[in-house]
């Protein structure tokens, strides 16, 4: 339970506050338009459809303000940096920015639906009232504005207009249809199926948000919603029953109306400006020069790029976005960094998984030795760093499949810190578990482990790092291969001194071993892998932790790299 509060508490709190504000806005504005005297006559014509349109509009204003902020990743990095003092779990919330963006997006979709449906009723009833389809008060109200010195209440001026005509000839109606259409296209192209397989479609169609915001800002500029000002005084409680006497009787002058001033721009102009700054910053980063220090082709079509950029500072476990104009002008792709902060360059390992990566690898394969690659732009670094790894005396690192990539950065950094006897490093022992279906495309990581193995042996520190490789996707070919080469000193699959295991680790045994070997330490367990494994490890941490704080205690940290 305590773990849940630490892991999910801040997110739950933010969600609670967000939901609370949404609910408050909806209820407040619903009552404002449902009870306000200024709208008495409007309500007479269209009833509660007024409030049902205005309440989601307020929620929409709020959420359209919010939706742009989580995608200003440089702004978030700035926040993350300035709040170093605040707890790490709070800063980690900034890593869930895309989840929040999607949530706000769905709320916008939902509220748009409610708002549109309410307006369908509005337009229908305004039109019918203008044609005299309702009671005498309604007709009288709708006819106001026909004469020279009258202001109007009913935004439908032409008695022959149809609702469709009204929708497409008023500012509110036309912008409403256009931006709703833009929103629908944005939502259908951001479905997970489309996003995961055809990211470019999602990315380019999502830029319709420019049309969305432009239309949103002028959506209220038609002044369609009229309110009754207090001057001249028109007492509607008395006068509502004698509409035909208005202007003829002293206590009921003809009511005058004034349009409500559009307010949406006040909500969204700030975030729009911030987002513009963000895109400008990305453009500036795009112009900054990045030089290639080394280009290495690794086995299984993995490309390692070592790059240098002036003023670039990174932490362990962070990622960058890369853009190569020669491949695509507008696409930025994220990659976790595999170098340690102590190195004077930063590196990424790129696998061929799609159009962009394939083209990049092909281009660089054909480069002559020692030549500079195509112009590359780098944005970042982003992500909450994983410095916690250095705080524990004993660290257990578990990486699954591609999740092993950030551990390259961590392991290198730990080794550098150890060599420099850095005071920041409290780690005395590391257990590394690497789980993958096959080592295809990760041979470079095995190479890294080999290098570390050699260096540690050189210092007589073989015990510092214990690593266990688990191939979870073995078959008969593997077993045949292993049985023939059983007596070799190094592992046949990875070439490492420690042998590869087949199948999944038996965590109970592992935890017992670790506890036996480290009877008095605090052990930090770090996972980069699937949710199911996270649950398993969390349970084991609780099971094998001792009540006595002087004895072994396991602390589980789930990292989302």
């Amino acid at each position: 339970m305590g773990n849940w509060i630490i892991d999910h508490g801040p997110s739950a709190l933010i969600l609670l506050v967000w939901t609370g504000i949404n609910t408050f806005l909806f209820v407040y504005f619903y009552l404002f338009y449902d009870r306000g005297d200024r709208f008495f006559y409007t309500r007479h014509i269209i009833g509660s459809a007024l409030s049902w349109a205005r309440a989601p509009a307020a929620v929409l204003n709020f959420n359209c303000l919010l939706v742009l902020l989580p995608v200003c990743r440089n702004l978030l990095s700035l926040l993350r940096g300035s709040f170093v003092c605040c707890g790490r779990s709070l800063r980690k919330q900034l890593d869930k920015n895309l989840t929040f963006h999607k949530l706000v997006g769905y709320m916008i979709g939902l509220m748009t639906a409610v708002h549109t449906i309410a307006h369908l009723f509005n337009v229908e009833w305004f039109t019918r009232s203008r044609q005299g389809g309702f009671d005498i008060l309604s007709t009288t109200l709708s006819r106001l504005g026909e004469l020279e010195n009258e202001t109007y209440l009913n935004p439908v001026r032409d008695p022959n207009a149809t609702p469709t005509y009204v929708a497409f000839t008023t500012i509110g109606g036309l912008t409403g249809v256009i931006i709703t259409l833009a929103l629908i296209l944005m939502i259908t192209s951001s479905m997970e199926v489309i996003r995961r397989s055809y990211f470019e479609v999602f990315w380019y169609i999502h830029h319709l948000f420019i049309i969305f915001f432009a239309g949103l800002v002028i959506h209220g500029a038609g002044f369609h919603l009229q309110e009754t000002p207090t001057n001249p005084p028109h007492n509607f409680t008395v006068c509502k029953d004698q509409p035909l006497e208005w202007g003829k009787v002293p206590e009921c002058p003809i009511p005058q109306f004034a349009g409500g001033f559009p307010q949406t721009w006040m909500w969204v102009i700030g975030p729009m400006f911030l987002y513009l700054c963000e895109r400008l910053l990305r453009f500036i980063r795009y112009l900054q020069s990045v030089t290639y220090r080394k280009i290495i082709m690794r086995p299984s079509n993995v490309l390692e790029l070592q790059l240098v950029k002036r003023g670039f500072k990174m932490e362990v476990g962070q990622y960058i976005f890369m853009n190569c104009p020669a491949i695509s002008q507008l696409e930025w792709h994220p990659f976790t960094m595999t170098s340690a902060p102590e190195e004077d360059f930063f590196s990424v390992h790129i696998r061929s998984v799609g159009d962009w990566t394939e083209k990049l690898i092909k281009m660089l394969e054909q480069l002559p030795e020692g030549a500079q690659g195509p112009k590359m732009a780098v944005d970042g670094p982003f992500g909450t760093a994983s410095e916690d790894v250095f705080d524990y005396e004993v660290s257990v690192l578990v990486g699954c499949g591609i999740g092993v990539t950030p551990f390259a950065s961590i392991l290198k950094s730990i080794w550098y810190k150890f060599k420099q006897s850095s005071p920041k490093l409290r780690t005395k022992k590391i257990y590394f578990y690497w789980l993958c279906r096959e080592t295809h495309a990760f041979e470079w990581f095995a190479d890294l482990l080999q290098v570390l193995e050699k260096e540690m042996a050189g210092r007589g520190m073989e015990d510092f790092l214990t690593y266990n490789l688990y191939l979870t996707g073995w078959d008969e070919n593997h077993t045949a291969h292993v049985t023939v080469h059983f007596d070799k000193d190094t592992d046949v699959v990875t070439g490492l001194k420690q042998k590869t295991y087949y199948g999944r680790p038996i965590w109970d045994k592992e935890f017992q071993e670790i506890r036996k070997e480290n009877p008095t330490s605090g052990v930090g367990v770090f996972l980069c892998g699937p949710e199911t494994l996270a649950k398993t490890l969390e349970k084991k941490c609780v099971k094998y932790s001792d009540v006595d704080p002087r004895k072994t205690n396991f602390y589980f940290n789930k990292e989302n790299f």
Partner: protein, 187 residues
């Protein structure tokens, strides 16, 4: 954007359009708007489009993700053969279905969305895509492979013969451990 299958997006758009058309139709009928007959049409057309578009087609490349519970509809849609397989037919069908929705405000959004879906389907059809059902692979009982039926042809792996030769001068060094434990036959 080389390898994109436009039909995937057209499908999402068409399903959304069906829902929007349906919702607009329900509003029009429930509110008894002028021209509610078009709204009633919207309900019928919306339901039809939703049923047609709910089963996702199989992707030509990569793994296909089913929608929950789409199996029954997959079978129904598949039964119409070339009419549902061909995307030109779908494009023209959606274009035709969307027209009556344009006559009433409540259904006009559904009409435009469906029209856009129709255009994307047309693009998919021009690129030669077609709808193939996602059906579970029929389980073929794997015939046990030959080697299980027959006794082993090869001896178990052991070090080469010259290592196994009795070396009287170095009895200790000649000892070796069988990689696969050898058990005596029990019969």
């Amino acid at each position: 954007m080389g390898k994109i299958e436009w039909a995937m997006w057209a499908n999402e758009q068409a399903l959304a359009s069906g829902l929007i058309l349906l919702t607009g139709g329900i509003v029009g009928v429930a509110g008894q708007f002028a021209g509610w007959q078009f709204a009633a049409y919207g309900v019928a057309a919306g339901v039809f489009v939703c049923l047609l578009e709910y089963p996702r087609g199989r992707r030509a490349k990569g793994t296909s993700v089913e929608r929950t519970g789409q199996y029954c509809l997959t079978v129904c849609v598949k039964a119409f053969g070339p009419i549902t397989r061909n995307y030109y037919v779908r494009a023209f069908l959606h274009a035709a279905l969307c027209v009556p929705g344009g006559f009433m405000l409540a259904t006009v959004l559904g009409c435009v969305c469906l029209g856009i879906a129709s255009l994307i389907y047309l693009l998919a059809a021009i690129r030669g895509e077609q709808w193939l059902p996602i059906l579970p692979k029929t389980e073929t009982r794997e015939k046990p492979r030959e080697s299980i039926k027959e006794p082993p042809q090869n001896p178990p792996p052991r070090p080469p013969a010259d290592l196994r030769r009795k070396r009287l001068e170095d009895v200790e060094g000649a000892a070796y451990v069988n990689p696969i434990p050898v058990t005596g036959s029990e019969d």
